[in-house]
């Protein structure tokens, strides 16, 4: 397969995954914002999506003050924000279009349809429907995309690079989101958790589709330590760091066992697999997560270099 084609397919999958994760982040933030809270804390919650997406100055210049509506507009729909959900879907489709002959028509048509629908969506319409509608829509389109890939694509290199893009992106998103939210949510150690904190941690779990899983795995109340364990270390959680990097390592082993990027993926995976949550928390989980983001990005660079000749 052409390196450029692999690169297009890889980015197509990354952009769709990124769009889904942003929708999850917005949905979770919106959910939290409905809780009674002091105004200051409420606004701080809405700064998180801008911090994760980037482009704070651009946001302030064009949208003014931080408010739920402005942030949702900027992160979900703003065509001038290169990292908005709309921009991600557009870029996913551009990548797909450039390599359409390597995709099944189901995958292409799914993405093309998502693009057409979001292009026709205006902010007033989103307000009118209620914000959760668009979050759900993005998630559904992403599920459909993944399903079309799973259900129709031959298990060849196109499929492989699709999956690689999905998991590299998801690992990056989980780590970043958790790092930002951790700062916002961790209660002052001297103060006991208040009732609303439990709701906030619950909302965070929902951002990773992990609320139900938490209840299945742990009995009792929601504790930050267990949330972190679930999202970083549990191999059976589809969005945890261990699961994502483990998947990347397995894909690379099948693709080329002796490639340098395969060894790197296995190293990152081993490090996460052998971590203990208490020692992560003792040293500083944010540093741990940021370090993961850096290593994951290095892996991304090596994959590009070794397979896509970029």
């Amino acid at each position: 397969m052409l390196g450029r084609t692999a690169n297009n397919i890889y980015w197509m999958a990354r952009y769709v995954e990124r769009a889904e994760n942003m929708a999850r982040l917005l949905a979770s933030t919106y959910h939290m914002s409905l809780l009674p809270a002091s105004d200051r804390n409420g606004i701080r919650q809405w700064e998180a999506p801008i911090d994760i997406v980037g482009g704070r100055e651009d946001f302030l210049a064009r949208h003014g003050e931080v408010s739920s509506g402005n942030v949702i507009h900027f992160v979900a729909l703003d065509p001038e924000n290169p990292n908005s959900i709309r921009s991600n879907i557009r870029r996913a489709r551009e990548n797909a279009r450039a390599t359409r002959q390597d995709l099944t028509s189901e995958v292409w048509e799914c993405l093309n349809q998502s693009y057409i629908e979001i292009e026709n969506l205006s902010y007033p319409k989103v307000v009118d429907q209620g914000f959760p509608e668009i979050f759900d829509w993005v998630k559904e389109r992403s599920h459909l995309f993944r399903g079309a890939i799973y259900g129709t694509m031959r298990r060849g290199q196109s499929f492989t690079f699709c999956r690689l893009g999905t998991f590299i992106e998801r690992a990056d998103n989980t780590a970043r989101l958790l790092a930002v939210k951790w700062t916002l949510l961790t209660p002052n150690s001297t103060k006991p958790m208040a009732a609303e904190d439990y709701y906030r941690w619950g909302s965070l779990l929902r951002a990773f589709a992990a609320f139900k899983a938490y209840r299945e795995v742990y009995s009792g109340i929601i504790e930050p330590r267990k949330v972190a364990e679930l999202l970083v270390l549990r191999a059976d959680m589809p969005r945890s760091l261990t699961a994502c990097i483990g998947e990347v390592a397995r894909i690379l082993v099948n693709l080329r066992r002796d490639a340098p990027c395969t060894r790197l993926a296995e190293q990152i995976h081993a490090r996460v697999r052998h971590s203990r949550i208490d020692s992560i928390l003792r040293s500083d989980i944010r540093r741990y997560l940021n370090d993961f983001v850096v290593r994951n990005n290095e892996l991304h660079g090596r994959i590009g270099h070794e397979f896509m000749m970029v």
Binding site: L2, G3, A6, Q157, F161, M309
Partner: protein, 472 residues
């Protein structure tokens, strides 16, 4: 003859239905007219879903649109096709011999059969290709020869497209669509298949691989997805099962062309390129081109990669060189031309120029460098203003123009706004040359949808039809 002395391919001279159309007409009589209109709509939906669109040149909105497709087939019987097929193959054989000659010994020029200046000073002549040996001495592997018909046995060649002729995907998709919409017609007729075209193309490309390569790696080289024919490039690559590459996917190292793959560099032996000479190698031609591959021509020169079509074929389809194709046929093949050339006035010739300026309202005037039906005056359908504008253009640059009598293009029944009407058509059969030269039975029929119009180009309101060659 029917209307205004135009030959109609179904009704002939207005008496009996012509042989090729008899079975079709029986069927047509049994079908309610609304049904055809319905099928027409279905065809539109099919084409849109498949994404068979083209970008119109010079259109500001840059939208992709469908080329209108007509559901009434154009039907030729075996004898009619034999004339066309042997005729276009003959031309392509002569053109390949001509190209081999002018890039080597130039004997036809020395013999004075074609004016040397016309070839050597022509911008389409590529000195870079001089002395370059190509596998099997084939230059034009894929040709699209534009043929028009003016009577039962009278065919004329308008143009020999020898650079990167397009449109073959329409021939294939039109057939696919007709078979889906009218399966019953295909059980009533024995229509020669066209679906094997990609297979024949692949065989052609394999046949011209550099010597000693038994299992060549073949690629289709496209300018990219902004090109109006990108759909066709992707289609042919997929049908042949080869990679569709852009210039950036290829590189030259150690006198070899490689493509960048996920497995590392992989050697490429044959490039079916859909990029013009000017852009194919920035080292040899246009230095600003980002579409091509640096050093490609030097690898071809060393016989380490084959380009299809070869570099420099544009000289053979130059409108001024066209006049001499019958001469090539007699010089190289010792045969008589099977198909007519259209009598052509070269306006660089003062006598011709004077005659043409006196007869503008009867003639078709074309820009030598024009394509796609742009820069063309159709005398009988022109206004006085258009003629005087053209007169000024001609006087400013007579070398830039040729003129031909207005041909009485044949008509075919066509569905326009639900009504069966007569519209003018042409035909572009595709001729492939590898080990041998063959014309794939059929081709692309283009139809001028505007009443009375003789311009069939899609950019000028033309549509397409499926072309049926009946098997004897």
């Amino acid at each position: 003859m029917t209307r205004d002395g135009f030959f109609d391919e179904m009704n002939g001279d207005g008496g009996d239905i012509r042989r090729a159309y008899q079975t079709y007409c029986e069927w047509l009589r049994s079908v309610p007219p609304e049904r055809l209109a319905e099928k027409h709509q279905q065809a539109d939906i099919l084409f849109r879903r498949l994404g068979i669109t083209f970008a119109v040149h010079g259109d500001d909105d840059g939208v992709e649109r469908l080329i209108p497709f007509d559901v009434i087939p154009r039907i030729l019987d075996p004898d009619e096709w034999r004339t066309v097929a042997t005729g276009v193959s003959q031309r392509v054989r002569a053109i390949n011999a001509f190209l081999d000659d002018i890039y080597h010994e130039q004997e036809i020029l020395k013999a004075g059969r074609i004016p040397a200046t016309l070839v050597l000073n022509n911008p389409a002549f590529r000195p870079e290709a001089l002395g370059l040996d190509v596998p099997r001495r084939v230059y034009v592997h894929v040709a699209g020869i534009d043929v028009v018909r003016v009577g039962p046995d009278e065919f004329y060649v308008l143009e020999d497209n020898c650079r990167v002729p397009s449109g073959v995907s329409y021939m294939l998709e039109n057939r696919e669509t007709m078979m889906r919409l009218f399966p019953e017609l295909f059980s009533r007729h024995r229509v020669a298949p066209v679906n094997h075209y990609p297979e024949v193309l692949l065989r052609t490309l394999r046949a011209v691989a550099p010597p000693g390569v038994s299992d060549p790696t073949i690629v289709v080289l496209t300018p990219g997805h902004f090109n109006s024919a990108y759909f066709e490039h992707a289609f042919l690559a997929r049908e042949m099962g080869v990679e569709l590459v852009e210039g950036q996917d290829l590189f030259v190292d150690d006198n070899t062309v490689f493509m960048r793959t996920t497995e590392g560099p992989q050697r490429v032996h044959v490039i079916y390129r859909r990029i013009d000479d000017d852009f194919i190698d920035p080292l040899a031609f246009n230095a600003n081109s980002t579409l091509g591959v640096s050093g490609l021509l030097s690898v071809a020169r060393n016989g380490r990669v084959a380009l299809a079509n070869a570099v420099g074929t544009g000289i053979a389809d130059d409108k001024a060189v066209y006049v001499y194709v019958p001469e090539m046929i007699s010089y190289y093949l010792g045969e008589k031309p099977i198909l007519n050339n259209v009598p052509t006035y070269a306006l660089r010739n003062p006598d011709d120029c004077a005659y043409v300026l006196d007869h503008l309202e009867e003639l078709v005037v074309k820009e030598v460098a024009g394509a796609g039906g742009y820069g063309m005056l159709v005398g009988p359908f022109s206004t006085a203003d258009q003629r005087s504008a053209f007169r000024a253009k001609i006087l400013a640059n007579p070398e830039g123009f040729i003129a031909q009598p207005t041909l009485k293009l044949s008509t075919c029944p066509t569905l326009v706004a639900g009504e069966m009407v007569s519209r003018h058509v042409d035909l572009r059969p595709y001729v492939l040359t590898g080990e041998t030269t063959t014309a794939v039975p059929g081709g692309l029929t283009r139809v001028a949808l505007r009443e009375g119009s003789l311009v069939v180009n899609s950019s000028q309101g033309g549509g397409t039809k499926d072309t049926w060659i009946l098997e004897g």
